[in-house]
Symmetry: C2
Amino acid sequence: MSKPAFNRVAPDARRLSLIEATARVLARGGANGASVRAIATEAGVSPGLVAHHFGGVDALIAATYAQVSEQVSAALDAAVAAAGDDPQARLNTYVAASFAPPIADPALLATWTAFWGLVVAQPAIAALHDAQYAGYRAELEKLLTACGLAPAATRRAAIAITALVDGLWLELCLSPAALDADEARAITEAQIAALVR
Amino acid sequence: MSKPAFNRVAPDARRLSLIEATARVLARGGANGASVRAIATEAGVSPGLVAHHFGGVDALIAATYAQVSEQVSAALDAAVAAAGDDPQARLNTYVAASFAPPIADPALLATWTAFWGLVVAQPAIAALHDAQYAGYRAELEKLLTACGLAPAATRRAAIAITALVDGLWLELCLSPAALDADEARAITEAQIAALVR
DNA sequence: TTGCTTGTTGAACGATCGTATAATAAGCTT
DNA sequence: AAGCTTATTATACGATCGTTCAACAAGCAA
């Protein structure tokens, strides 16, 4: 009988497992608690695997950032795809998705603030943020253009909407008692209506 | 001759010195680099002083949060006080001050993200945030009311402006290349004009 | 079955973490 | 000038940090 001493898994699958464990640990205890041992325990593996698959904990955290960013983008895209054809409805759906699960999640906030805290010291994390932000704004500009917004105004409108959504999302997660998703949605829809009228 | 082995300083002054050192260390290396020894070295004192004056590093960081929050509020209030009597000019000045020094400072962002990262794990920090946010919004509601905004609309307008300013400020500090203060100011002024028209 | 590749473990390393504590001395009171 | 309070230092402690590495074994190829 003698069950195996460990599970041998394909590198990609193991990397994903470690990334998901990192996200959970970050969400639970913030950046301070995200040690190699805590992550490894969460993933059910030995600490040495982090160095083996990622070279170091910094690279693992960066990879987690990239993966979480991708999931957020995917969730937003899926919401838009299910929104039908009306351009303004698509735009509203896009921003409203930021205030609903899985995006408006305290766990996601914890992950995100951990990343922001690393931007200061780690240029690689800063570069990831810039790329993610640019992609988000590009998607928003496409939706705005589809609404008939003048090309000269799209950039500024996209920045304004992004900032408003980020600010509301942040407050929604930081102190849920002061703001709920319905109100956040109503505020952004009023703003959008004023911009693309 | 024999110069003194150390400077004996009044407790309040020493506490302030340690708080300021903490802010500098947080700004320089983020929350990860803000160790007791790093702070003590920055302040030019022995590590033991942190425990003596604050009981622990967590309390020191919380005190730094409180002090930085107070400085931000003071800077905003000073800007408004110098803005004259026109209600809408006062409102515009209030939000515009968020995009100029000393508030739109990468160092301040680093300090702030460090605090956000601690909100997850430390309820005391979360309570500080709630209080600071409530105070900020209350001030904004006063300025909005002075502009003649209907009482029923002030709450929502204050939330919208706060979120917009926070989002712009965040992006302004995180990736200055993608946004400058003038554009942030123009965006908020357009938003305010639409709200209090 | 045998051999090989390599994912995985667990221990060990030095560095650094936060905190506690005894000894010291600075500055005020008397 | 003597004494007292206490701010301050320097050191030490145990815990935990990220990383390294030799040994092991799981799963595939032959």
